[in-house]
């Protein structure tokens, strides 16, 4: 049993190690402003990765989330710009824009889910397709350039990213709440059990009167809604969206899920592991930027090594279980 615990704690130990390393290498690492920045930037990928944990655990995959985020940012900005002359530059307009992102995300996720469950197309193919569609749509809406939020609204909306309680900004708070609810849902509810059962063996789940299609569709819709939530927190950061918004987010989110110990083939989901995975990825990025040991341009290479290493450790755990 001890051996297995070590594997479970592996990502956590890596995170603590990175934290100590960062503190030793540069005192500025521990400054609240830096930590706040690291956590806030983790929040976007983190929110998406929590949803991705459910999709991967039921045996699915979603490659479209990065493009979806860009698309949702685009339509939310266009909606707010169009509404501003009618409803005025006020919180009502911003809330409507938020609603567009959230409902749009839910619908986009539901479309992915419906194509996977009703049309019975491989999730890899479905979301590869919608990835291209969303990316192309936002580029078209922006006419190849950038969609910028009305400057009055931007000033109003800004505190959603930069404000908060002390140095703990709103994205950090929202991420923390979603992570806790996500872990609780996976661990303690019927929905979480069904998600794990379907990923473990969907035929057994169907024969056990689990509504496999509905649960699968719900995970995609949930992921879409969380992409919408991430978008809501992301828009005030730059106040704009373009064809290059959210590029490669899908891979970072999937990487975080895998590093956190969720099995790519499904059946075993760990939301807290995903949170740790997201933090590991952002800390590596931050430490490279703060120190000149290794060029920050090698960030991607180091992340790649971590991902492969995490999967190798998972496999060792599996053979240890089988003995």
């Amino acid at each position: 049993m001890k051996r297995i615990d070590l594997h479970l704690l592996g990502p956590l130990i890596a995170l603590v190690g990175l934290f100590i390393l960062g503190a030793l290498l540069n005192p500025a690492f521990l400054a609240p402003a830096n930590l706040s920045n690291v956590l806030a930037r983790s929040a976007f990928i983190g929110l998406i990765a929590v949803g991705m944990t459910f999709v991967i655990t039921q045996g699915g995959l979603d490659l479209s989330v990065g493009s979806m985020a860009a698309f949702l940012a685009g339509i939310a900005i266009m909606a707010m710009n169009a509404l501003a002359p009618i409803t005025g530059v006020n919180w009502g307009t911003v809330l409507l824009g938020m609603g567009v992102a959230l409902v749009g995300g839910l619908l986009a996720g539901a479309v992915n889910g419906a194509l996977v469950t009703k049309a019975r197309i491989e999730p890899f193919i479905v979301t590869l397709g919608t990835m291209g569609i969303f990316r192309s749509l936002v580029t078209w809406l922006a006419d190849g350039g950038t969609l910028s939020l009305d400057s009055g609204l931007r000033a109003l909306y800004r505190p959603v990213y930069f404000g908060g309680i002390g140095w703990i900004t709103w994205p950090i708070i929202v991420f923390a709440i979603v992570a806790v609810i996500g872990e609780w849902t996976m661990r303690h509810t019927r929905f979480g059990r069904h998600v794990e059962a379907i990923g473990s063996n969907d035929r057994v789940a169907r024969y056990s009167a689990v509504d496999v299609e509905r649960v699968r569709l719900l995970t995609y819709a949930l992921l879409g809604a969380l992409v919408g939530l991430a978008t809501i927190l992301y828009v005030p950061r730059l106040g704009s969206a373009s064809g290059s918004t959210g590029v490669l987010w899908e891979l970072e989110a999937i990487a975080a899920v895998i590093i956190g110990g969720t099995a790519l083939k499904g059946g075993r989901g760990r939301v807290w592991g995903t949170v740790v995975g997201v933090l590991i990825l952002s800390l590596i990025d931050n430490i490279l930027n703060l120190t000149d040991l290794v060029s920050p341009y090698l960030n991607g290479a180091i992340q790649g090594v971590i991902i492969v290493l995490a999967v190798v450790l998972q496999r060792e755990k599996r053979t240890a279980d089988e003995r």
């Binding site: 019927r190 059990r193 059962a197 473990s200 056990s208 009167a209």
Partner: protein
């Protein structure tokens, strides 16, 4: 004579639990040795130790009288010890020849010598009296054909010791005869053979020597002819198996289920049946006659047309959820692929169909209580409730599956092959559970390929043939002959229902 392969006072422990207690076993050249015992008696563990897949905790493995320590299955295979596992070790996307020579491909220079491998594979298959083509893909073969390929693969290894786990379980009658002929041939060639089987007639037919295991220890050794089939069963279970089937007569007049004009496109045609409270209705018929498909259609697992009335109300049943809502549950014949989550703990399997009973936030204390109760009620023998379901023996998996199916408290229970791959002692327990369900007022449908089972359990039997219900026998009219005649389409002396 020195045994080719022998176990000397072998013990094996998993964690703190000792599962083998000082087993001695000797396999002699030119001799067929049968290892029999209930599920969980330790047969699989012994075969894994002999085949090099497990190391003994105590005692030793002797090869030609000298201690041998195999590090792995391939290591033992290099010494001439070949194991045919119950679960096939075949690659679905390779050809038959490709599988037979997998890992020992014949080559000509750098190129694979496909022609030579095809020819050699063809020769082996012809020896087994099969019509399997060497260039067929494994995925296109039926289960019995795959079994024959496994046997051909073992033959190609030129084994000195051949170990077979339930070799005939998946074979048809004709193939079984071909298998027996091969066993006789290998024996004459001086191979030492060991096999496990739940078919005691097979043991009596093949074995020169029988070793009976119970709870991890040898309880009886016998030479050919010393033990009758009844004697073997008694030795395995440790008690007389006089009344293997419990008494019947619990049926009431109340109709629980009525199925009319039910068709599954291309498989089941115009089937009708009724099931009363307290009744056990058997469904017999050949494999492929549509029995499973009929049950799956009633359970919402297959698209079908027709009318189904459950508990007096006609209800459309399109999904397994619909069926569950109307008190219908189906226990699958395929417990490993459709019944249990093998990598999940026992309790998570038990409650999977009944999670709504545990509240929105899953009540783990209550879940453990339900598990403890199921363990008692269904006599599930597990080292720990935290172990994965796949680590249970076949019989205990079946008991867990039964407990899981009954947890949502269905009134109409369709049980498909209740005792497949299960030892005789556990079978008797399952028969008792089935009759107890009927006595408790459920309606039970039992589908089985084993005639004695379906006859011993059922109040009434429907016989299926080519997707249609060919007839019904009940009460005193239940005879093996009547059922076989209906199943073969010979026209019954019995009136059709």
């Amino acid at each position: 004579m020195t045994a080719v392969l022998a176990l000397d006072a072998v013990t094996k422990s998993f964690g703190p639990v000792e599962v083998l207690h000082g087993v001695d076993l000797a396999l002699n050249a030119g001799e067929v040795h049968a290892l029999i015992g209930e599920n969980g008696a330790g047969k699989s563990t012994i075969m894994k130790i002999l085949g090099g897949y497990l190391a003994p905790t105590g005692g030793q493995v002797l090869l030609d009288g000298r201690p041998a320590a195999f590090r792995s299955g391939p290591d033992a295979e290099a010494a001439g010890i070949v194991v045919i596992h119950q679960e096939f070790n075949l690659v679905p996307d390779l050809t038959v020849a490709g599988n037979i020579f997998l890992g020992r491909e014949l080559t000509r220079g750098l190129r694979l010598d496909h022609a030579a491998m095809r020819a050699a594979a063809g020769e082996l298959l012809a020896r087994l009296d099969t019509a399997i083509r060497p260039d067929a893909l494994i995925r296109d073969l039926s289960v019995p054909d795959r079994q024959m390929v496994e046997i051909a693969k073992a033959l190609s290894r030129r084994a000195r010791v051949l170990i077979m786990d339930e070799p005939s379980a998946a074979l048809t009658h004709r193939e079984v005869e071909a298998l027996y002929a091969q066993v006789d041939r290998l024996r004459a060639e001086g191979v030492a053979l060991l096999f496990c089987s739940h078919r005691l007639d097979e043991v009596a037919r093949l074995a020169d020597r029988v070793t009976v295991l119970r709870d991890g220890a040898v309880v009886r050794r016998a030479l050919r002819g010393e033990l009758t089939e009844d004697g073997m069963a008694t030795a395995m279970v440790g008690r007389e198996l006089s009344d293997i089937f419990p008494p019947k007569d619990t049926a009431t007049a109340e109709e629980l289920l009525r199925v009319e004009a039910l068709s599954v496109p291309g498989i089941v045609h115009d089937a009708a049946l009724t099931l009363r409270r307290g009744e056990v209705l058997g469904i017999a018929g050949l494999v492929g006659s549509g029995r499973t498909e009929l049950a799956e259609a009633i359970a919402g697992l297959r698209p079908a047309t027709g009318r189904i009335s459950a508990r007096g109300r006609e209800t459309p049943i399109r999904t397994p959820q619909d069926a569950a809502a109307h008190g219908i549950a189906y226990l699958t014949e395929d417990r490993k692929e459709a019944g249990l989550l093998l990598d999940k703990p026992l309790a998570e399997n038990l409650t999977l169909s009944a999670l709504d009973r545990l509240g929105f936030r899953i009540d783990r204390a209550n879940e453990s209580r339900l598990m403890a109760q199921a363990t008692r009620d269904f006599d599930i023998r597990a080292a720990s409730p935290a172990m994965p379901a796949g680590a249970l023996s076949g019989g205990n998996q079946q008991k867990l599956l039964l407990a899981k199916t009954m947890l949502p408290e269905p009134e109409i229970v369709l049980i498909d092959e209740p005792t497949r791959g299960i030892d005789v002692g556990t079978k008797q327990q399952i028969y008792r559970f089935v009759r107890e369900l009927a006595r408790a007022g459920k309606g039970v449908v039992v589908i089985s390929s084993e005639l004695p089972e379906v006859m011993g359990l059922s109040d009434r039997i429907l016989v299926m043939r080519q997707g249609r219900i060919a007839g019904e026998v009940a009460g005193e009219a239940i005879t093996e002959e009547a059922i076989v005649r209906l199943a073969m389409g010979l026209g019954a002396e019995v009136e059709s229902a």
